[in-house]
């Protein structure tokens, strides 16, 4: 907390990608404002009083493009715009909150989402992991592109997310624990995709950020059945208690969802 009143906040509203990168600099002291669905509750409740705000709404960072067989998605692309994105990203996007939130929340915000009140956020992260997506960011040492799991491991501090790149998978699978008419964050979601480097599995809801289920992937690569490979998920993730569900429940649910996502993958698409 660097200032104490809303009046004190200084604003930069870049109108191009280059201006946004320049205004972000090394990110020191900058609060990046994308869709606002995560920041505004913090501001409304007085938990956050930003001093320097970078408003990305007009920076031209939104939109879905295609180049050389890859799909590029700008950081300011809304979750609603991703509802028809390559699977399992489309399914993950459709599972986020409700229509109005999806129309405001952004891909970049979802990638940078810290856990809230101990509850994991960032529903799209597992899909991006499964799809072997890369994240292009700007910051202190200029622009760079990194695998999404490396970006998540390093954290968003000091990096401005510009765009994500991915390829259509050969097949995809998705399974999530969803409570109808309760738009809390997802309890647990599993994304699977067959990419050029084999089957990849991402898990959202079992840690502060989504994680890659390497033990599950290795078991599959070694010829294990979906049923057996799914059991390995507990070697990849140690779910925690939070307001949405207990660790006990998540531990029992996780292998089931992994198996369902793998079955969904087997079903083709």
């Amino acid at each position: 907390m660097t200032s104490t009143s809303l009046e004190a906040a200084q604003f930069v509203v870049p109108t191009s990608r280059d201006e946004a990168v320049q205004a972000f600099g090394d990110g020191s002291g900058v609060t990046v404002f994308a869709g606002g669905t995560i920041l505004m509750p913090e501001i409304n409740y007085g938990r956050l009083r930003p001093a320097h705000v970078l408003m990305l709404g007009r920076a031209g960072l939104s939109g879905i493009g295609h180049k050389d067989g890859a799909v590029t998605i700008g950081a300011m692309t809304t979750v609603a715009e991703l509802e028809d994105a390559p699977e399992p990203l489309g399914s993950a996007a459709r599972n986020v909150a409700d229509h109005e939130i999806r129309a405001q929340a952004t891909l970049g915000g979802n990638l940078c989402a810290p856990s809230g009140g101990g509850t994991p956020r960032g529903d799209l992260q597992a899909a991006l992991i499964a799809l072997a997506a890369t994240v292009r960011t700007a910051g202190k040492d200029g622009e760079r592109t990194a695998p999404v799991e490396d970006f998540l491991a390093a954290g968003a501090d000091g990096r401005l997310v510009l765009e994500v790149e991915l390829h259509e998978p050969k097949r995809s699978g998705y399974a999530a624990a969803r409570r109808p008419h309760a738009h809390a964050y997802t309890i647990l979601a599993v994304c699977a995709a067959e990419t050029s480097e084999g089957v990849r599995v991402g898990i959202s809801g079992a840690g502060a950020n989504a994680l890659r289920a390497r033990h599950v992937e290795d078991a599959l690569a070694g010829g294990a059945s979906a049923e057996d490979a799914a059991q390995k998920a507990l070697d990849d993730a140690q779910p925690q208690d939070d307001a949405l569900a207990s660790a006990w429940y998540r531990q029992r649910l996780l292998p089931v969802l992994v198996r369902r996502a793998l079955d969904d993958l087997g079903g083709g698409k």
Binding site: A9, G36, D98, H99
Partner: protein, 174 residues
Amino acid sequence: MRLTVNGEQRDLHSPPLTSLLTALREELDITSPKAGCNQGGCGACTVLVDGEARRACLVPLAAIDGASITTVEGLGRADELSPVQAAFDEHYAAQCGFCTSGFVIAATALIDRKPKARREEILEALSGHVCRCTGYIKIVAAVEAAAEGDVHPEQVEPSFEPEEAEVLIPGSPA
């Protein structure tokens, strides 16, 4: 900061990170958007921003300079309800009324983008809105009727004259 609110140009002086909800209620005295959860989870503050339903609590003024805002006050009048408002009246789709503004705005936006919205689409579109008393069945029936054009605004009896409304407790939320 300037907005067009219900067709009227308004200059706002609240700090740029003030939520649209707070600015509407406390600076402009427009009280149909309700402050329920202030974190996007209840839907009671939903308004139209350039024709699209948005949570007013999640939108800072800084993000919408120059935008056009519509609240329930801008949809219809007591003697000339909008189709969605008339459908809510006909189907008795309000009880305490706290969530009603948000539902009416969300339903208006839905029918605007999908004029013949089916039941499943209605349920999905309203799923971010919480009602703690009517129980959704009458609300969904009202929106289905509005989507089917089965509304009769001319038959709605204005239940009160707005100019007769009086604030019983000064400073209480309307």
